[in-house]
């Protein structure tokens, strides 16, 4: 949160993303950060929801079972629709990615919680694992024929010197855009909250009692932003998962 100095409030927008060690002295010894705490919490939450959701096995599902089933079918349909029949093999991977990112984004929305997806190190590792997987899958399915991916079939041969570098560049830039998209969305959302919260402090410091009433405006904007961030949390998890599916589709089917 912003500096509450009454004299001249400043906005410390990026301070909220500072890592600190969690779990007391044991955590400090192994550099277990608050981001790791949130990852652990996210994993436990997902596993618990799926475990208890799939335990009842009722024909008419209860709330938790319905949640587990809807999540399962949503990701499964996404996989099968985008990748095709081979999507079955990649479904567990995409399912894990989607729910890990979704719960991570949602946990970050709570006050005093930490959004681990707001760190490029986290999203870059996720995006790189997808990138490396797509290369391995491409080589496994097609062998060296995979490299024809960089020259679309049917394109005139004369265009090869232009097309091939473009295709290679666009292929190599995938993990960058894939990771920066998620990280930047989460960071921008949290910074926006911080900025408008800082406006409230500035208004009360500058205008006194009148400022208290005027600062209802930034407060209202922050309330709207909560709804927007909720949408972004879902949307970015979905986008990350569907782009993973698209990249895997390219690796399996070569365009």
């Amino acid at each position: 949160m912003g500096n509450a100095r009454v004299a001249a409030p400043t906005i410390d927008a990026l301070g909220q993303f500072t890592l600190s060690t969690g779990l007391g002295p044991i955590g400090a010894a192994v550099n277990f950060t608050n981001a790791n705490e949130m990852m652990l919490l996210a994993a436990v939450l997902i596993l618990a929801a799926l475990h208890y959701g799939s335990r009842a096995r009722a024909v008419v599902p209860g709330r938790l079972q319905a949640l587990a089933e809807i999540g399962y079918e949503f990701v499964r349909n996404m996989c099968l629709d985008t990748i095709g029949e081979e999507g079955r093999d990649f479904f567990p991977f995409v399912f894990t990615l989607f729910f890990f990112i979704l719960v991570g984004n949602l946990l970050g929305l709570f006050p005093y919680f930490f959004a681990f997806t707001s760190h490029i190190a986290v999203t870059a590792v996720l995006a790189l694992s997808v990138f490396i997987l797509s290369i391995v899958v491409g080589l496994r399915y097609h062998g060296l024929h995979f490299f024809t991916y960089f020259f679309p079939a049917g394109a005139p041969k004369a265009l090869a010197p232009v097309l091939i570098p473009i295709e290679i560049l666009s292929f190599l830039s995938r993990p960058i855009s894939h990771s920066v998209r998620l990280f930047a969305n989460i960071v921008a959302g949290h910074v926006m909250w911080e900025v408008f919260a800082g406006f409230m402090l500035m208004l009360t410091a500058g205008l006194g009692t009148a400022g208290l009433f005027v600062s209802i405006v930034p407060l209202a904007i922050n309330v709207v932003l909560v709804g927007f961030e909720l949408l972004v949390a879902f949307l970015q998890a979905y986008v990350f998962a569907i782009l993973t599916c698209l990249y895997l589709h390219d690796a399996v089917h070569l365009h």
Binding site: A184, N185, V187, V191, L235, Y238, V239, I242
Partner: protein
């Protein structure tokens, strides 16, 4: 306020101009979406998902520009 800080603010303002392009893009996406649903209401469910995906991908470009502005201002 010294001139370096002022230049920082100007730079952040310039970086935020990039958001305008994404605004045009998102407008196009939803215009096309409304157009499509108007012509063929039965396709609504199918087209809506694609539209939202396009929105998220375009919005990400605006977020890049905004992030640069934030980094100039606060980092």
């Amino acid at each position: 306020m010294n001139s370096a800080l002022l230049a920082k603010d100007i730079g952040a303002g310039l970086a935020a101009i990039g958001v305008a392009g994404a605004g045009v893009g998102i407008g196009h996406i939803f215009a096309a979406l409304v157009n499509t649903v108007g012509r063929n209401p039965a396709a609504r469910d199918k087209v809506f998902g694609i539209g939202i995906l396009g929105f998220a991908l375009t919005e990400a470009v605006a977020i890049y520009a905004l992030l640069i502005a934030f980094l100039i201002l606060f980092a």
